[in-house]
């Protein structure tokens, strides 16, 4: 048995002040003046307790690209960011397109013990976009995969997409589409518009994203499937999803923290840390994404945490890899972009970063948030903190954060996962203790 934990005086997302008593893997009691002999006491005065954050879009890179990230290092980056669940994208080597690979990734996650690692299965064999992967085998494996994605590549073939949407329905799964029309984005380097024309970088038109979303929501409607759109990045995409939802199409959508905060103007530096897929867009797009998140058109925030080794970014723009790390900074960036300006409150944050992604991923235990009897998965966050975000805040292997030297609000001080703390006093609990806690059987 792990030791009981007693949190004193935390503010729930609703604003209600409460103590939280954790026993075993569950939240045992809520209320004021709780006490428990022998419990680890945590003073949460002034802190906000958020349900454990769930990332629907994480690149853990293992197996195959361990120089960029491993399941363990990515899990540590997640925990320090307040996450208790990550969904690991399928673009590993080998690709997560069989039951064997997804089970391996899941068991690496269980052994690391910082977060629940839920593998995402590939839609097509080898992400090649020509033949369906073993979706049924992955769905029925120990990993119980429910989200399928060729992320990094678009399922561009309309017939394959139709079949995938239909087939996944059989297993109550969802296809998460990386919407990028490949022919319109050959060699594309940044958002196509005024800045790309000036910088002489090949343009990545908004329509390449919007056209695929429009096609796919219509396909989903036709076959009665649900569909999830990864990393919306344009104002037009928000409009298309809004239209689809109004028609009753079962579509959900995500936005990344960086698309809520950063614009293409940063590319003027040719600093490859700002190179990402989809690319940073215009200020108008950022505003539309924020409004879409606030009005529910966009369901969730997902990080698209994409670590790369230094040599992949320390070079000329065109040679650089696309992607940014985001787990460690996600909550702070959400606060900076949509909470501090009043567009979202903390209940909304709990919805877009915890219950929402859990619902899309068919993950149990996150629907009700911090309630008695719910799994003890939460994080204590100090929204009044301010810090210059630096390399020392990163806990994964990747240093390719776009926020280095930005001043960001907020700080995660404690994260509790499976009833034990993975973060205490703003620092990760050591890997050995976590692995030991994770190995304790439960039932």
């Amino acid at each position: 048995m792990t030791t009981a934990i007693l949190i004193k005086g935390a503010a729930l997302p609703s604003g209600t002040r409460t103590d939280i008593l954790v026993r075993g893997r569950l939240i045992a009691e809520l209320g004021s003046n709780l006490s428990e002999a022998g419990a680890t006491l945590i003073d949460a005065d002034g802190l906000t307790a958020l349900p454990g954050l769930v990332d629907l879009h994480t690149h853990l890179r293992e197996p195959g690209f361990e120089q960029s990230e491993t399941v363990l290092t990515g899990s540590r980056a997640a925990a320090i960011g307040g996450f208790t669940v990550v969904h690991a994208m399928a673009n590993t080597l080998p690709v997560a397109d069989t039951a064997g690979v997804v089970e391996q990734v899941q068991s690496l996650g269980n052994a690391a013990g910082y977060v629940t690692v839920r593998p995402i299965g590939a839609v097509s064999v080898g992400l090649q976009g020509s033949q369906l992967a073993e979706i049924g085998a992955m769905a029925h494996s120990r990993a119980r995969v429910r989200v399928f994605s060729d992320d990094g590549k678009c399922v561009s073939d309309a017939l394959l997409m139709r079949r995938a949407l239909e087939y996944v329905t059989t297993f109550d799964g969802v296809v998460a589409q990386h919407a990028q029309e490949p022919r319109l984005t050959e060699g594309a380097q940044m958002n196509e518009g005024a800045v790309s024309g000036e910088l002489g970088l090949a343009g990545w038109p908004a329509v390449a994203e919007e056209a695929i979303i429009a096609r796919d929501v219509l396909l989903a409607q036709h076959v009665g499937a649900r569909i999830h759109i990864c990393h919306l990045s344009t104002a037009g995409s928000v409009e298309v999803v809004r239209w689809a939802k109004a028609r009753g199409i079962q579509v959900t959508a995500e936005v990344t923290p960086h698309h809520l905060l950063l614009t293409e103007d940063l590319v003027r530096s040719y600093d490859a840390r700002y190179k990402v897929n989809p690319p940073l867009r215009r200020e108008e797009d950022v505003q539309a994404l924020r409004a879409g998140l606030a009005d529910g058109t966009i369901d969730i925030v997902a990080t698209d945490h994409a670590p790369h080794p230094p040599e992949s970014k320390d070079c000329e723009w065109e040679a650089a890899s696309m992607g940014m790390v985001g787990l460690e900074s996600a909550l702070s960036v959400v606060q900076a972009s949509v909470v501090d300006n009043g567009m979202l409150d903390w209940r909304d944050v709990a919805r877009v970063l915890s219950s929402g992604p859990a619902r899309i991923g068919r993950l149990d235990g996150y629907a009700e948030g911090i309630t008695v009897g719910a799994p003890a998965e939460f994080t204590l966050y100090d929204p009044t903190a301010r810090r210059v975000f630096g390399r020392e805040q990163l806990r994964g292997k990747g240093a390719n954060s776009p926020y280095l030297e930005f001043e960001l609000p907020g700080r995660v001080l404690t994260t509790v996962h499976h009833g034990y703390a993975t973060v205490l006093d703003g620092e990760l609990v050591d890997a050995e203790s976590i692995a030991k806690n994770a190995a304790v059987p439960h039932g």
Partner: protein, 316 residues
């Protein structure tokens, strides 16, 4: 001037200042001994990640006429996967003791990345980066126009009210970009003429007028017509149906050349595709500045090397 990365960074006074120094350098070119001792002991590296014999020998001639030591470094294959990285190459040059590095690179922004990095302290001169800029080409074009218009009294002057039509593949042209920013800073009125497929999406925000029709542009009696080279790969890229149609619509053929006012000058950055974007008659006429541009290129590059190396690190 610490570096020269783009003409967009140059304001009107700075640009006139560079052109005036280039006039001084041009005077030296008319002397019996064309060499100045100014940069003796300084090392200039021509770092070319992309073939360009014309630009390289122009910089080489410029550096040698200022008595600098010149190292030519041809480093084709720029990305990590193909060979040595930009970073390692830069650190190697820093260790050799380069005082200025003239960079030609197929990736837009590569010279700026070098200048911002802590890999190398040397002054960086952009000799053409991807489809971004080719600032010394812009400067030598402005210099050529100014000399044609003002002759020996060019010093201190800008290009106010001069009308310039730039014709061809604007989308992929670093020459066009450098000319647009520089010529408009100097007060010229620039018109871009191209099929819509060869104009960047954001071009409406540029300080220029846009036209699709070359005959219309010629009817407005421009002081300067600058023809851009059509690259072979654009012809297969679906930007226009074929070379014949391009030539018919956007080539400076004999009829269009005859329709130009007798005072108009015809420019081309070279190398030319004769018979495609420019007819031989236009290219070889006395209104063509093609060879003057090459001569002036050496003077302008001498000026840029001098200005960068006299403000860079190390003994001046």
């Amino acid at each position: 001037m610490r570096h020269l990365l783009s003409t967009r960074d140059l304001d009107r006074e700075e640009a006139i200042g560079i052109l005036d120094v280039a006039e001084d350098m041009a005077e030296v070119q008319n002397r019996e001994v064309r060499k100045l001792p100014t940069l003796r002991g300084r090392t200039v590296v021509n770092l070319f990640f992309e073939d360009s014999t014309r630009t390289r020998i122009s910089f080489e001639a410029a550096a040698k006429r200022l008595s600098a030591d010149v190292i030519n470094f041809s480093a084709k294959g720029s990305s990590v996967s193909k060979g040595e990285s930009l970073k390692d190459t830069a650190q190697t040059l820093a260790s050799i003791g380069a005082d200025a590095v003239v960079v030609r690179h197929p990736a837009s922004g590569a010279p700026q990345v070098l200048a911002q990095s802590d890999w190398i302290e040397a002054g960086i001169i952009n000799a053409g980066d991807g489809t971004h800029e080719h600032p010394t080409q812009g400067l030598l074009d402005a210099f050529t126009i100014r000399r044609r218009l003002h002759g020996r009294t060019a010093r201190g002057k800008a290009l106010d009210g001069v009308s310039v039509s730039i014709v061809g593949d604007i989308l992929h042209s670093r020459v066009a970009r450098s000319n647009v920013w520089l010529l408009t800073s100097l007060g010229a009125n620039v018109r871009l003429v191209a099929p819509a497929t060869l104009l960047p999406v954001g071009v409406t925000g540029w300080p220029v007028t846009i036209g699709y029709d070359l005959d219309d542009a010629i009817a407005e009696r421009p002081d300067v017509v600058m023809m851009l080279r059509i690259q072979a790969e654009r012809m297969s890229g679906g930007f226009f149906p074929n070379a014949r149609e391009y030539s018919r619509r956007w080539g400076l053929d004999d009829a269009r050349f005859n329709a130009l006012p007798p005072t108009s000058i015809v420019m081309h950055p070279g190398p030319m595709n004769r018979g495609l974007e420019i007819s031989s008659r236009a290219a070889d006429s006395d209104r063509s500045t093609v060879l003057e541009q090459v001569t002036n290129g050496v003077s302008v590059r001498m000026a840029v090397l001098y200005l960068v190396l006299s403000t860079g690190k190390g003994p001046a």
